[in-house]
């Protein structure tokens, strides 16, 4: 895709500039290339999954309002499709009182997914395209309703938190007659320009996403995209909020951190003698049994008991939800990292195929 090449080109320019700057002086000049890079919205797949690493994410779950039927959901999908096509192109939507906020999309992407509860409430449960309706409960969880489930989900990702904020505002505004925000989570990784690789460190200092298949490969497609049925060219989406005991983890030696993970902390290399209970050993998959991971770190306010509410917004996409469930079941049994991590939110969505001009997201289900 031309856009993708443009994005990669833009990022390499920034790296060059950065190296030069450190050798001489701090240079705060604006790099117009980052802000103006546009990701395609229309396509076979919804964008925001098979894409080079983006730095920021806002994920919002909505519940539909009383009396909203399948035809009303279709109207909302038409609105969101139009809005998303404009916003991701860096254009203000018609009627937006804050048009300047749409500038600098910086690889903004918006994708929409549905929970089983949406199909149930709108009387189309028979159209739900996968066998699983929810993620089963696990002993290691301490789930909170305020971070779990939802009828609709919107994942807004990009390299500019400002354009992400604005997109979230516009989409929630246009959703008002149809749906109410249930939860919102914001996550971050290294900003564009200071990290041009596909992996970033989580708040435990571990390199995250090293097992992902490269985008635009058959391996990526096999793991990620559904190949048949109503979900064809779509996927399943798991969103888990994993709270990390950052204070306790911080007191652990570098060596012991590596043992729990099963990889060296500094470069992510596998340890020669990996413990059978280490995270990496427990999550290892081969062939097309894997998942596509897209995690974002979060760092929110302190909780009432003084705990820092920080951790990982774990997002995974997989053609077969079973691939995720198998991994999760193993982690529930044994994982050295469980001592420092607690899932506090959990949600399952399906992500329908992308839209083409003239169609809208989810048309196959709600038309």
């Amino acid at each position: 895709m031309n856009y993708r090449k443009l994005a990669i080109g833009a990022l390499s320019v920034v790296v060059g500039g950065g190296i030069f700057a450190t050798a001489t002086m701090v240079d705060l000049k604006k790099d117009p290339a980052i802000g103006s890079v546009v990701e395609p919205f229309y396509g076979v797949h919804q964008n925001g999954i098979e894409i080079d690493r983006q730095a920021n994410a806002t994920v919002i779950a909505f519940d539909i309002n009383e009396g909203i039927d399948s035809a009303a959901v279709a109207r909302l999908m038409r609105l969101w499709t139009n809005d998303s096509a404009e916003l991701t192109a860096g254009k203000p939507i018609i009627g937006d009182p804050q048009i300047e906020m749409a500038e600098n999309p910086a690889r903004l992407t918006i994708l929409v997914g549905y929970g089983y509860s949406l199909f149930q409430k709108t009387g189309i449960a028979d159209k739900w395209p996968i066998a699983e309706k929810a993620i089963p409960g696990y002993q290691i969880e301490r789930l909170e309703k305020r971070w779990s489930d939802g009828d609709l989900v919107v994942q807004i990702t990009g390299d500019n938190p400002q354009s992400i904020f604005h997109a979230a505002l516009v989409l929630a505004r246009d959703a008002e007659p149809f749906a109410t925000v249930r939860w919102q989570q914001r996550g971050f990784l290294d900003p564009a320009g200071i990290n041009t690789t596909q992996v970033s460190r989580n708040l435990m200092g571990q390199l995250d996403g090293t097992a992902n298949k490269p985008i635009a490969t058959k391996e990526f497609s096999d793991i990620t995209w559904a190949k048949e049925g109503a979900l064809k060219d779509g996927t399943t989406m798991v969103v888990r909020r994993i709270r990390i005991a950052v204070k306790a983890w911080d007191k652990l030696s570098t060596n012991n951190k590596g043992v729990a993970l099963g990889r060296s902390l500094d470069n992510g290399a596998k340890l020669e003698s990996q413990s059978a209970s280490s995270h990496v050993t427990r999550t290892f998959t081969s062939g097309a049994t894997g998942i596509m991971r897209r995690g974002f770190n979060y760092d929110d306010n302190y909780l009432a008991d003084g705990t820092r509410d920080a951790g990982l917004i774990f997002i995974s996409f997989q053609a077969k939800l079973k691939n995720y469930l198998d991994i999760q079941a193993k982690l529930n049994e044994v994982d050295d990292l469980n001592r420092w991590t607690t899932p506090v939110g959990s949600a399952l969505f399906i992500v329908p195929q992308g839209a083409i001009p003239g169609s809208y997201i989810g048309q196959i289900f709600f038309s």
Binding site: A72, R75, L76, R78, L79, T81, N82, A85, E86, I93, I94, G95, P97, R173, D174, E176, P177, F178, P357, G358, S359, Y360
Partner: protein
């Protein structure tokens, strides 16, 4: 874009040279919206009727200027093309020219399609049809979502600007 409507201009395709269809001019209407009306919206006290605006982007892909002269809608008794000058809205007697090869934005505080003499409220979340009429005699009908839109930079006239 669900609401994009493409209209081949019959006059250009049916007369003149029999060139291939690629030369046929087309008016494209994108992202239309209609502003919602609630009980707090302007109501003409004499007639008891409501009014509102519709906004969109109109692109003229042809090689001749086309003028948007008026329209109709199942929800409105009258549809007019308006502009806002010094904060005051007024009808455009000669219509709105969409120059050849250009896009014109119809937006709050600027050019817009005015829907007049509405019997009742229309609410955000609904959709409504608006038919646009052009100077060459062609029409096209778009389906526009109804949205709540902030609009504080234009003033309706004392009698509703009509």
């Amino acid at each position: 874009m669900a609401a994009v409507a493409v209209l081949a201009l019959g006059t250009l395709s049916s007369c003149g040279s029999n060139d291939d269809a690629a030369k046929v001019a087309a008016i494209v209407v994108e992202n239309p919206v209609v502003r919602s009306i609630d009980s707090a919206s302007y109501k003409n006290e004499k007639t008891g009727k409501f009014m509102t605006g519709s906004f969109m982007t109109i692109t003229n892909n042809g090689d001749q200027d086309v003028t948007l002269v008026g329209g109709s809608s199942p929800i409105a008794g009258i549809v007019e093309i308006h502009e806002v000058i010094d904060g005051m809205m007024q009808p455009m007697a000669n219509g709105l020219v969409i120059p050849a090869g250009e896009s014109v934005k119809l937006r709050m505080g600027g050019y817009h399609v005015m829907l007049l003499e509405l019997d009742g409220e229309i609410k955000a979340g609904e959709e409504t049809e608006v038919t646009l009429r052009f100077s060459d005699g062609t029409e096209q009908t778009i389906t526009a979502p109804v949205k709540d839109i902030a609009m504080d930079d234009e003033v309706y006239g004392a009698d509703g600007g009509m």
